[in-house]
């Protein structure tokens, strides 16, 4: 029996990289959005080299489940190389749409899925002579066919084509033509609609559709970053590139046409962070964007920035490790690396945005935190958030919001005779004052170094001042707990002894899983951790429950390690739920893992049965 669903299914496009399919696939996803139905698209791109396979998955979900679902209901199989695997991945009762120009033996198909063949290549060859056009319009043509098969509103696609080619108006008509060739063919020769359909709804509302990297970069613009130094690495490059684009738009001095920013593509990640450290030391807001391998290279500078107390912002768009690992797959596996980066006793502040809206918010706030705490701040994004378009609440900015530049002593304060000790804890919060170079002719200068020093920044190797300084750094970390974004707690409708902790890109899958778990009779309170060091709420949450599941996308339960280590929590009560094969975590996975565990608890112990 074919799967029958309205506004709740998964379409996957299997393409050859470089065939121009990306924009057609995005057009499809946006058209569904324009019909008021939420979509969650995901790029799966094993490599960026031309000719290799790529997939684009669109989860159509009126209920707004934006996590990956797993499984495919309709496969648009445009890549012969991956045919077998693609066909195998379709859910029983699903659909297979393919280019039927070349006949395929029956053995290449499945009997439990509905096969829809359309001679796309033949039609293109008939309509176009230019090879590039044949290729590009084939993509638009299958989108046209899909509008008929899924009973979509074709005007939504037409409108989008008009918007996309605004300014290049010559391209509108040919694209519309290709769209309709595909649609008309389907209406005429294929059974339309199939049992998967998209129906107009009002479930998108005012939400926006943006990639996490672009949103984070916009956060850096709003947060006042003026210096960016980076070295290309997937999946973080598009963050620095987006910053470059946003700056070209929003950061040009209208009078002179000159730039209120400086972006350096450095020679490596060491230099990237070195530039950031130098700029931040000199009073500019500066950041780098990188991924795990880059953070590995930055270790020495991170220790310097921690110990010499220099604000720095790092966006770590995580991918699958270790080593080169899975460069185009997603994971949350840099948590421990970032939290304790560099030799000696170090700890760093981490922020865990759940989606682009929070990537924007934390992306801006990170600069306030860095200046306030005078220390590196990591914004821990991952590929799933960073490189995919995600539906999220609109980006928000309070008009009157001022930057918190932290404790910076001015020339006037120095003149007034204020005591300046670079590492002097005047306020008891562990945070000392700093001065920018060049502030005052005779007062407030100091020497910054990574070696030990006393409260007045004078070099010393004495144990006393060293311990004094290290203790102050701990006090400062304690202060950080009250400044970083607080965890978000959401309790079940009735009291329960079970809880779940999660963070970052796991959010949408967790939100979906909690509903299903509830339907199965499993109640859990939820705590979404948004930063490290942990707020007191985290320890309280664990104390409130017998068991707390800790859901993460890495092998070693890295956040759980931090919980055990930093909060002295009993590890037995923290049950790891770990997904780390490089695909985004799904609600199905979480439900299975948690339900299995809770079901096992329900089984009456053996001894009781016997007695």
């Amino acid at each position: 029996m074919p799967i029958e669903r309205v506004n709740d299914f998964v379409v996957r496009f299997a393409n050859v990289n470089g065939s121009g399919s990306a924009s057609a696939n995005q057009l499809f996803a946006r058209a569904v959005l324009r019909m008021g139905v939420p979509v969650a698209p995901r790029n799966i791109f094993p490599s960026n080299i031309q000719g290799l396979p790529t997939w684009y998955e669109v989860r159509i979900t009126e209920a707004g489940h934006l996590g990956a679902r797993g499984g495919v209901d309709l496969m648009v199989a445009m890549n012969p190389q991956t045919w077998d695997k693609d066909v195998a991945s379709i859910e029983p009762g699903g659909y297979l749409f393919y280019d039927s120009t070349k006949p395929l033996p029956a053995s290449k198909f499945r009997t439990d899925v509905t096969v829809i063949g359309m001679p796309l290549t033949a039609i293109c060859n008939r309509e176009y002579t230019d090879p590039r056009q044949r290729q590009l319009f084939k993509n638009i043509m299958y989108v046209g066919a899909l509008t008929a098969l899924l009973d979509m509103d074709v005007t939504a696609v037409e409108k989008l084509i008009g918007e996309e080619f605004k300014g290049k108006d010559k391209l509108i008509a040919p694209n519309l033509k290709a769209l309709h060739i595909g649609r008309d063919y389907a209406l005429e020769h294929l059974t339309c609609p199939i049992t998967l359909t998209v129906k107009r709804a009002d479930a998108v509302r005012d939400r926006i559709y943006i990639e996490g990297n672009s949103a984070a970069a916009l956060g850096a613009v709003y947060g006042g970053a003026t210096v960016c130094a980076w070295y290309p690495i997937t999946p973080s490059s598009s963050l620095a590139e987006a910053f470059t684009r946003h700056c070209a738009r929003y950061r040009i001095d209208p009078q002179t046409g000159r730039n209120r920013y400086a972006i350096i593509q450095a020679e490596d990640e060491l230099a990237s962070l070195g530039i950031v450290v130098g700029a931040a030391w000199n009073g500019a807001r500066a950041f780098t964007a990188t991924s795990g391998p880059g953070i590995s290279l930055m270790q020495e500078f991170l220790g310097l920035a921690y110990f010499a107390e220099i604000p720095a912002v790092l966006f770590d768009v995580q991918r699958g490790g270790p080593s080169t690992g899975m460069p185009t797959r997603t994971q949350q596996s840099d948590i421990v690396l970032a939290a304790y980066a560099s030799h000696g006793d170090t700890k760093h502040v981490l922020l865990f945005p759940e989606d682009p809206a929070e990537a924007f918010e934390f992306g801006a706030t990170a600069f306030d935190l860095a200046d306030r705490l005078q220390t590196p701040i990591f914004v821990m994004i991952d590929l799933d958030i960073g490189m995919n378009h995600r539906l999220c609440r609109p980006l928000a900015w309070e008009e009157k919001r001022a930057y918190d530049r932290g404790k910076v002593m001015t020339a006037a304060e120095l003149d007034a005779g204020k005591d300046f000790g670079r590492y002097l804890d005047v306020d008891g919060d562990g945070i000392p004052y700093r001065t920018y170079p060049g502030t005052h002719p005779t007062r407030g200068s100091f020497f910054t170094r990574g070696s030990t020093r006393d409260r007045y920044a004078r070099y010393t190797e004495e144990g006393g001042p060293y311990v004094d300084n290290m203790q102050r750094l701990l006090r400062k970390f304690e202060t950080a707990k009250g400044l970083v974004p607080r965890p978000v707690r959401r309790d079940a409708d009735k009291p329960t002894r079970h809880g779940v902790i999660y963070y970052g890109s796991t959010s949408p899958a967790m939100d979906e899983a909690i509903v299903e778990l509830g339907e199965r009779g499993h109640r859990l309170d939820m705590l979404r951790v948004r930063a490290f060091p942990f707020h007191q709420d985290v320890a309280d949450f664990v104390a409130d429950h017998d068991f707390v599941f800790v859901v993460e996308q890495n092998r070693d339960a890295q956040l759980r390690m931090l919980l055990v280590n930093e909060q002295s929590l009993d590890p037995v009560r923290l049950v790891p739920v770990l997904h780390y094969d490089g695909t985004p975590i799904t609600a199905r996975f979480i439900v299975r893992a948690i339900a299995e565990h809770l079901d096992a608890l329900k089984i009456t112990p053996l001894r009781k049965v016997v007695s």
Partner: protein, 351 residues
């Protein structure tokens, strides 16, 4: 090894410069380097140069890596902010500092290990980018701080104090600086203050990446017979191609030299260098010629010193990046944040 502050007492008869500062005002704390170390002489030359140029000391930022040489910024310009960063990475830190505030003078101090060994990449890239700075390498051919291992500038055939021969080819920092586009390149010797001070002054006045390779013997580990970076060896093999007799910032020059002997080089800010030729055919504006000449003389075992190359009207990184005149670190919310109205428009475009 605790930091020692020099007592500040001003002798009434101490000479003052145009800003009313004495020489003392440009000093730092007392050096903890070995007595006789070449590096201390370079610090003294830096102090002299800044005093003579009438620089407000706090408008200089001193940055360094790690090494005996990199420790020296503590020993000069006590009123300047300093940054002793990590080994081999001063160039990136300086680049960032320079981006944040283009109005300060950036003085990068490094060693041959710091620059030619661990930091070779950062050295080349900072120069490539044309960062407006003075980059001084205090070159002794060894790692002084870690007790005398060969560095990458040690000459092939040079013998260590323990008698070990260096078989690796050496990195010629001057050649590299020229190749990657430094717009001011000089070599000097810590034992020749008369040559060094004007070179430092000229480098400070130069806009763009100014590089000085200063041979600076390590008396503890590399001053023995058989070393090619000992005081004696350098004195014997020093070949100055020219002499920068003085620097006249923005003032008319009156000199008495035969035609062809003296060249006045005017830099972007109007400062003038009076360059006395010692080698009739050496032209410090001819990069290719300079490179060939340096290779030839190096092959003959000579250490060529002087102002080797200068491009008086050079661009710097800020020109390349088209940054605003105002220092980036002074821009505020009004200038940096596009605001809520713009964000509403951005949101609308994302639907």
């Amino acid at each position: 090894m605790t930091y020692i502050v020099k007592p500040k007492f001003h002798h009434p008869s101490l000479p003052v410069n145009e800003l009313g500062f004495t020489h003392r005002d440009y000093e730092g704390s007392i050096s903890t380097l070995c007595a006789g170390c070449g590096h201390d002489a370079i610090s003294a030359a830096i102090i002299q140069a800044c005093f003579e140029l009438n620089l407000p000391p706090h408008r200089v930022a001193k940055l360094s890596g790690i090494g005996c040489s990199s420790k020296t910024p503590t020993y000069f310009l006590g009123s300047s902010h300093g940054f002793n960063s990590v080994h081999g990475r001063m160039p990136s830190v300086l680049t960032g500092a320079n981006l944040a505030n283009r109005d300060l003078i950036y003085l990068g101090v490094s060693g041959d290990g710091d620059t030619a060994s661990i930091g070779l990449g950062q050295f080349a890239h900072a120069i490539r980018r044309g960062v407006n700075m003075v980059y001084i390498v205090e070159n002794n051919g060894v790692y002084g701080l870690t007790k005398g291992q060969f560095s990458a500038t040690a000459d092939r055939g040079s013998k260590s104090k323990r008698g070990v021969m260096n078989n690796d080819n050496s990195v010629d920092l001057v050649a590299m600086a020229l190749q990657v586009g430094a717009s001011f390149v000089a070599r000097s010797f810590s034992g020749d203050k008369a040559q060094l001070v004007p070179l430092i002054k000229a480098a400070i006045e130069h806009k763009g990446a100014a590089f000085i390779d200063c041979i600076s013997p390590c008396v503890a580990f590399n001053n023995h017979p058989g070393s090619t970076k000992s005081f004696d060896y350098v004195r014997e093999h020093n070949e100055a191609v020219n002499r920068l007799d003085f620097m006249a910032p923005r003032a008319p020059i009156h000199v008495d030299y035969k035609p062809g002997e003296l060249e006045i080089v005017e830099q972007h800010d109007g400062s003038k260098l009076a360059l006395r030729k010692l080698h009739a055919d050496y032209d410090p504006h001819d990069k290719l010629g300079a490179m060939t000449y340096l290779q030839e003389r190096a092959h003959a075992g000579e250490i060529v010193t002087g102002l080797l190359y200068v491009e008086p009207e050079a661009d710097d990184l800020h020109d390349h990046l088209n940054t605003v005149e105002h220092p980036l670190n002074e821009l505020n919310e009004k200038e940096l944040c596009p605001g809520a109205g713009t964000l509403a428009k951005i949101n609308a475009s994302l639907r």
